[in-house]
Amino acid sequence: MADERVLWCHDLRRSFGGLVAVDGVGFYIDPGETYGLLGPNGAGKTTTISMIVGLLDRDGGEIRVAGEPMTTRAVRAKREIGYVPQDLAIYPDLSGRENLMFFARLYGMSTSEARRRSAEVLELTGLSDRAGDQTKQYSGGMKRRLNIGIGLLNRPKLLILDEPTVGVDPQSRNAILESVEALSGAGTAVLYTTHYMEEAERLADRIGIIDHGKLIAEGTRQQLVGMVGEGDQVRLSAAGDLTRAAADLAGRSWVRQAKAADGTIDLVVDDASRELPAILADLTADGLAVSSVQVHEPDLEAVFLHLTGRALRD
């Protein structure tokens, strides 16, 4: 089974002196799947990534990439990975094209193949016009795009992005997220670490929540939110007898809580997106004119808070 996964890691452990950075982490990623590794700073995300990429020796556990065992010396496993480090890792005195050519050749491509692939990546990252400029002349966003582009050069089965949007402006950030969605859609397995909940929610098919070196929860977004046991919150503004309307709604089986106050009705329901039409129909039948509706679903922030007692960005 482990050999069929693009990434399979089991019981990873790593300590630095007396500090346990990663403690028994294990997960897998299948082709075309995006796995979000979510956790606060210092949770052990980068150490986990470093072991998977082969930068760090591990104290214990096992890693397989496309069926190949990964160690710091594993050349075959490394061929299958595209790695985008957290910090910019490009050469400022070389042009964008020269950076790409260098890494393409380092991954074993011939000169002509490297030239062709570099041109494709330049096109993909929108840097073709500035390909000949030294990267120290690039804007921050351009450098970020090139940084990601280098990770795509070898058409990896597994693309690993370690917090690629840290310090990035909103426009570039959105472009990066779109690129990841496109790659995942094209069949690339993606391991994406972040401490931004919204990015994990948007990109990841499955999410692992890591804290203090341990994987404390894992699953789809719905599965994780389900762990919290909270319902969706719906707030309606309307004119009329709100107390009676709230009492009527409280009789519905899917309404967990209904309360009227200050011109609004606050509800807690099982699934707001499914039940909202029925709510509006009931209020209209009661003769209320609804002026606004707000829906708030429990998010991963709430999940993290529920699991650790701390906010994700603490």
């Binding site: 082969g54 710091t72 070389l94 260098f102 380092l106 030294q134």
Partner: protein, 394 residues
């Protein structure tokens, strides 16, 4: 090996593009070699040819012996160029405009006065701005005058010993010839060849080249630390290549930069400065050994540093100390006592000694200096390599 070559090519491209290696490896040492040679030529006169004018208004036996035997022997030293001048007026004019640094004048009747055992004098015209050249010319004239006086004294001694009437001219001439043949008139020895010292131009060319070699090779080794702080080392380690390829690429970069720097400096100082490095094969052996020793020492220092900036600082300090002790700015081997022996703790001293030995002897003379430098390379390089493995970890 392929990956090491790729890393080396990438590093060389970056280094040549930011021009730092070009400046440190070629421009600065070449410029300093010119400057030091110019300064010390002005002080000592060494390395330049003294243009000595000679006006022979006599054309007698004694003056012809001076112009045909003494002066050619002096000229063979390579330090003095003799320029016979027809008239005293022209010689004065050339001395006045600096074409000639000094002039020796043999007045008419000089030989006749010498043969008649009468007072005779040669004149030296010097330049007040160049007292050293005038003193050299005076020394040459005095040496010859002393030799003539010795011959005259020998003949007079023989005549006085016989008693009786004065000796006939033919006998005096025969005695003079025998006395003169008894010794060399003036001997100019090739001191530099005997003491295996480089001439001034070659010394400064070689000294500056090997001094800055230790700075040039830093670029390759220290870039490993730069890559670590810049984050690109993580990308190299994550690539499907061995860590030995990364280290190899960095060391190869140092070696290639060293070879380029030394090759350009040898060629440029030979063509532009007139430096004489010696047998090309011997020079090549010494250059390669010097580069390897420089890489070993600089790599070892880099492994002790926490970051690229600290490494560069420490390497610079060590390079300057070794350069000074190794005699790259002045010949420490001529210094008294312990300093002349201490110099050989520096590979630079072995390099300069090797070049000196090469000039004085055959190519086999370079093996001991070359082996000494390779010893530095092996010892420091071995320690550095074990530590460099840790440096290649992210």
């Amino acid at each position: 090996m392929r990956a090491a070559l790729l890393i080396c090519a990438k590093d060389l491209r970056a280094r040549l593009r930011d021009r730092s290696a070009l400046l440190i490896g070629i421009v600065v040492p070449l410029g300093l070699a010119f400057i030091f040679n110019g300064i010390f030529s002005g002080i000592s006169g060494g390395g330049t040819v003294l243009n000595l004018g000679v006006v022979n208004a006599d054309h007698g036996l004694a003056s012809q012996q001076f112009t045909s035997e003494v002066l050619p022997a002096v000229a063979r030293s390579g330090l003095i160029a003799v320029h016979p001048e027809a008239t005293l007026a022209r010689a004065r004019a050339l001395a006045a405009n600096g074409t000639l640094e000094a002039v020796i004048v043999i007045p008419a009747g000089f030989s006749a006065q010498v043969q008649a055992n009468q007072p005779a004098a040669m004149q030296v015209i010097g330049n007040i701005d160049d007292p050293v050249s005038a003193q050299v010319a005076e020394s040459i004239a005095e040496s010859y005058a002393a030799d003539l006086n010795r011959v005259r004294l020998s003949v007079a001694t023989v005549a006085a010993g016989r008693g009786g009437p004065a000796l006939p001219p033919a006998q005096i001439q025969a005695l003079s010839a025998r006395a003169a043949a008894a010794v060399e008139p003036v001997a100019v020895d090739d001191v530099s060849a005997q003491t295996k010292e480089l001439n001034q131009k070659s010394f400064f060319a070689a000294g500056m080249a090997v001094f800055f070699l230790f700075f040039t090779v830093q670029f390759g080794v220290t870039s490993l630390l730069e890559e670590r702080s810049d984050g690109t080392l993580a990308r190299l380690v994550a690539a499907p290549i061995g860590r030995a390829s990364i280290l190899g690429g960095k060391l190869l970069t140092s070696f290639v930069l060293g070879v380029i720097s030394m090759a350009v400096l040898v060629a440029a100082t030979t063509l532009l400065l007139g430096a004489s490095w010696g047998n090309p094969l011997g020079v090549a052996v010494l250059v390669v050994a010097a580069i390897l020793s420089a890489i070993g020492i600089m790599a070892l220092i880099a492994t002790l540093a926490k970051n690229a900036e600290q490494a560069a600082n420490w390497q610079s300090v060590v390079a300057v100390i070794l350069g000074l002790v190794g005699g790259t700015f002045f010949p420490v081997s001529q210094a008294p006592g312990i300093l002349s022996r201490l110099t050989f703790i520096a590979p630079q001293a072995w390099f300069l000694r090797g070049l000196g030995d090469l000039r004085a002897g055959s190519i086999s003379a370079v093996w001991i200096p070359a082996l000494a430098m390779l010893g530095f390379a092996v010892v420091t390089g071995a320690v550095a390599l074990t530590r460099l493995r840790h440096l290649a970890e992210v």
